[in-house]
């Protein structure tokens, strides 16, 4: 979507020429981080607040070299960690398109569903209603 045709993931193609997704400087497996959320984003409307604690289970993330490339397209960075590393991206010209490096589903409980999951299913219900006319 950004016109980077040979974009690769370091886990599946460690010798790729353009490692768009690279190994994190330090693994995030099992860590919890505070995420700062951009005002007026989908994430902000979902959480209803500017910060959230989230759990990570990953060793890979956006290669910092490509950070500027990401925002040249239609993706916006709407969540960052305390060091400013990318943790949430979303598409502005789309009904609901959010990607997170953390796993919101892991924090979900029967009595406390995750705000992003609620926003996602609400968007799905609205989409279904539009399609059914």
């Amino acid at each position: 979507m950004l016109g980077i045709r040979d974009a690769e993931h370091e886990e599946s193609a460690p010798g790729g020429s353009t490692l768009f997704i690279s190994k994190l400087a330090c693994s995030l497996v099992g860590k919890t981080q505070e995420i700062k959320i951009t005002p007026d984003s989908i994430a902000h409307r979902a959480y209803g607040k500017r910060e959230a604690m989230e759990q990570f289970f990953c060793n890979y993330g956006l290669n910092p070299v490509f950070r500027n490339e990401v925002t040249k397209g239609k993706l916006s960075i709407t969540g960052v960690d305390p060091e400013g590393e990318v943790r949430i991206v979303e598409l502005s010209d789309h009904p609901f398109y959010v990607a997170t490096l953390f796993l919101p589903q892991v924090a979900s409980r029967p009595e406390g569903p995750h705000p992003l999951m609620l926003a996602y299913l609400k968007a799905a219900a609205a989409f279904q209603a539009r399609r059914n006319g």
Binding site: E11, S12, Y60, P95, T100, H114, Y120
Partner: protein, 94 residues
């Protein structure tokens, strides 16, 4: 009777992975809170390499990019995600 929302989960389900089970549970939790029913289906990434399978994504009301790389087929996973992005289907990638 609650409205049923159909969710297609792009990923290779592994019952031994806690966060795959958490994905299913999180959908149920959120659906219940919203008085919706949720009908979710895991979509193996290898199957999404096929154009006719991609067409079947239209049956869902939303798509989810599952965690758990590497995918069996990175190409299939990317095709599914591209469908959501280009056709305007609600999407979350976690």
């Amino acid at each position: 009777m609650d409205r049923t929302i159909k969710v297609g989960i792009i990923g290779d389900f592994n019952p031994g992975l806690g966060f795959h089970n958490a994905t299913n549970e999180a959908l149920k939790h959120a659906a219940r809170a919203l008085s919706l029913a949720v009908d979710f289906k895991w979509l193996p990434t290898k199957s999404l390499e096929d154009q006719s399978e991609q067409k079947k994504l239209e049956q869902f009301d939303a798509l989810w990019g599952s965690p758990g790389s590497p995918y069996n087929s990175m190409d299939g996973a990317l095709q599914g995600i591209r469908f959501a992005r280009e056709m305007g289907w609600p999407f979350i990638g976690t």
